[in-house]
Symmetry: C2
């Protein structure tokens, strides 16, 4: 998605060979016009997938996910990061460990909102090793839903997340695919790669 | 705002004299069409306030806040809940203690995104005792910004938050004002009260 790649080139901060900060338009300050276009682009890409719910993980995925849900004409669900297990049959949980951040949490979904008969699109801001996305897939699958695919704003294509999701049999659509990062260096995967 | 009051009457769950669950359209599942109308309503209400940034606290405020920011034509900022103090002069923090939830966190803002010359609208989903809203006001004030007001989706008018914010000299606009809650009972503040 050219609009997002242009924004990353203009405002993204490559701090090392693995860290890309996009705090000025996605993660801390949020550009609402960009979010609208991002949502429109996801909706266009997945328009024939029969999606009934858009799922995202709090909190940076919420702004793009609510826009995608708006254009798809379906509800959005915020998967919560709980610090502890909930002993209630109405909640479904799965443990996520982020190696990059050194954190662990229980990704949580109420069975009231996703179930058999649902086809879900999972949206997240970043795809690196795929821990969060694979967790969201596990959770939605536990709930009985079909997975239409995973929509990502920024994919670190040099990490294993994309391949893990593809290997598990799911579609991944990333709006910006970063091939290489370095201090002050950002390179995208070219279309013909 | 009639649309929100109608939705609360149709889907809100009053569990006690203080707990109102709106998990089916605001806090867990999110209705994107309602979020758009909520944002449009905030933008209309604050259109002459000279707002340059919309601030919200992660994560239930993000969906309505990004919509308000879109209609106001300004960026949105997500105030982060950090568990610890950040020792970096570029970050501004203030401690928030939620008595209802029994939690405490450092509300965090990067000085890169809000400063002198900014006039901010603070948006949050619920207003109860006003701890979060007053914290967001402190944070934006520390950053040098002017406060245009506080925009709330659901105000528990029987708690002290609204009066605290008014007493501190700030405007509060709540789209739905709940006068009374009980098991299965929801009453709104009438316009002529």
């Amino acid at each position: 998605m050219k609009l997002l790649e242009d924004k990353i080139m203009a405002e993204g901060l490559a701090l090392s060979d693995s860290v890309l900060k996009v705090d000025s338009f996605i993660n801390h300050q949020v550009d609402p016009v960009l979010m609208q276009e991002i949502g429109r682009d996801f909706a266009e890409h997945f328009k024939d997938a029969g999606i009934t719910k858009v799922l995202t993980i709090e909190s940076s995925g919420i702004a793009p996910a609510v826009s995608a849900a708006f254009f798809l004409g379906v509800p959005m669900i915020i998967l919560k990061k709980q610090t502890s297990k909930i002993l209630n049959e109405n909640f479904i949980q799965t443990n996520i460990t982020s190696f990059t951040k050194g954190t662990s949490y229980e990704l949580t979904l109420s069975a009231n909102y996703v179930g058999k008969g649902d086809t879900v699109l999972i949206i997240d801001d970043f795809l690196a090793n795929g821990e969060a996305a694979m967790g969201a897939i596990r959770l939605a699958t536990k709930a009985g839903a079909k997975i239409a695919g995973v929509g990502i704003l920024i994919e670190k294509s040099f990490q294993k997340g994309r391949q893990r999701i593809l290997d598990a049999g799911y579609d991944v659509y990333s709006q910006a695919r970063v091939a290489k990062l370095g201090e002050g260096l950002i390179e995208f995967v070219r279309e013909d790669d």
